[in-house]
């Protein structure tokens, strides 16, 4: 009985131990590095309002460093972060290609992010401009959809 009392008294006087937070920065750093690896910097300031169509056969685009983004909607065109129009598209593609390294320029892919409701007349003009600037690998950007459409 006396022993019990002594135990209780002891625990009453004891303080709650503080949680050791020494490893918390390490944990957060791990999460930070994870995000730094799986994400990439967003560098385009997109002024074109677009919503890409959905398809079942879409594939992931490889080699992001060799990609030029072309945003197209019914009234606007933008190459990477530069708004432009159809007449200057070809020259702008050339300029963007010059910025890339040599091997990247060779396997250049143009990712065409066009709005669903863009008429084909506009798209055809864009494709013709791409042909003229010899950017022949194009990626019709889209989201993946389930089969039942």
């Amino acid at each position: 009985m006396r022993r019990m009392q002594s135990i209780f008294r002891h625990s009453a006087s004891r303080e709650m131990p503080g949680l050791n937070l020494a490893s918390m920065p390490d944990l957060i750093f791990t999460v930070l590095f994870f995000f730094m690896i799986v994400t990439h910097m967003r560098h385009d300031d997109v002024r074109v309002r677009y919503q890409v169509p959905a398809g079942t056969e879409v594939q992931k685009l490889q080699q992001r460093t060799a990609v030029i983004n072309v945003y197209v909607s019914a009234s606007q065109i933008q190459v990477n972060s530069q708004p432009t129009d159809i007449n200057h598209l070809a020259s702008l593609i050339e300029a963007e290609r010059k910025k890339l390294s040599e091997e990247n320029a060779e396997r250049l892919t143009v990712s065409l992010k066009a709005d669903k409701h863009t008429p084909m007349g506009v798209i055809a003009d864009v494709k013709e401009a791409l042909q003229r600037s010899f950017a022949l690998r194009i990626n019709y950007s889209g989201t993946s959809a389930a089969d039942n459409d």
């Binding site: 169509p53 398809g55 879409v58 594939q59 992931k60 065409l112 008429p119 194009i138 889209g142 459409d149």
Partner: protein, 181 residues
């Protein structure tokens, strides 16, 4: 005097704010970076047409004419594909194409004709249907030939399968008959 100093403990650095600093870094990266992966249909455009390029003769029976009109209606060789029971015209296009390509895999030509007013979405879904047809054929050939899925083949085998079922697509300029402008 010296002895006393030896027993003194070195004060520890207070590191409780390191967590806050790394949290701030983490939030900065979350805000400035994006995780969206770019997905899409990878296609190859033909080089720009030369001035003195003689038009190639293609026999009519090798050609499958796929047309999208101004109202996004799909027709194959002049017959309109209509929305069936739970089957979209695009999936019936895929099945028609698979049959057509398999019957004439070296010389077939898929000719695409759109209109100025056709929406990009319809065009995209048509391209998607065409890619689906080729993918189905290549997949079945890869299984037959190598006993593996197309995705698991090494690049050389994949090239061989691609050459067995070459993509022969011809695209002409959009027509203006829909009265787009």
């Amino acid at each position: 005097m010296f002895r006393r100093r030896r027993f003194e403990q070195i004060p520890e650095l207070n590191t409780s704010s390191t967590a806050d600093i790394s949290f701030m870094l983490l939030i900065f990266f979350l805000v400035t970076s994006s995780m969206d992966t770019d997905k899409g249909l990878l296609r190859q455009l033909p080089p720009p047409p030369q001035e003195q390029q003689p038009p190639q003769d293609v026999r009519k029976d090798h050609v499958l004419q796929v047309t999208l009109d101004a109202h996004d209606q799909l027709s194959v060789d002049g017959t309109l594909l209509i929305q069936g029971n739970h089957i979209s015209p695009f999936s019936s296009l895929t099945s028609q194409l698979t049959k057509f390509i398999a019957a004439d895999r070296k010389d077939h030509v898929i000719s695409i004709q759109t209109d100025h007013a056709t929406t990009y979405e319809a065009y995209f879904r048509m391209q998607n249907a065409i890619v689906a047809a080729y993918n189905q054929l290549r997949e079945s050939y890869a299984r037959e030939r190598y006993g593996k899925s197309y995705g698991d083949l090494v690049p050389e085998q994949r090239d061989e399968v691609n050459q067995y079922y070459p993509q022969r697509i011809s695209e002409s300029k959009p027509t203006k008959e829909g009265g787009a402008e």
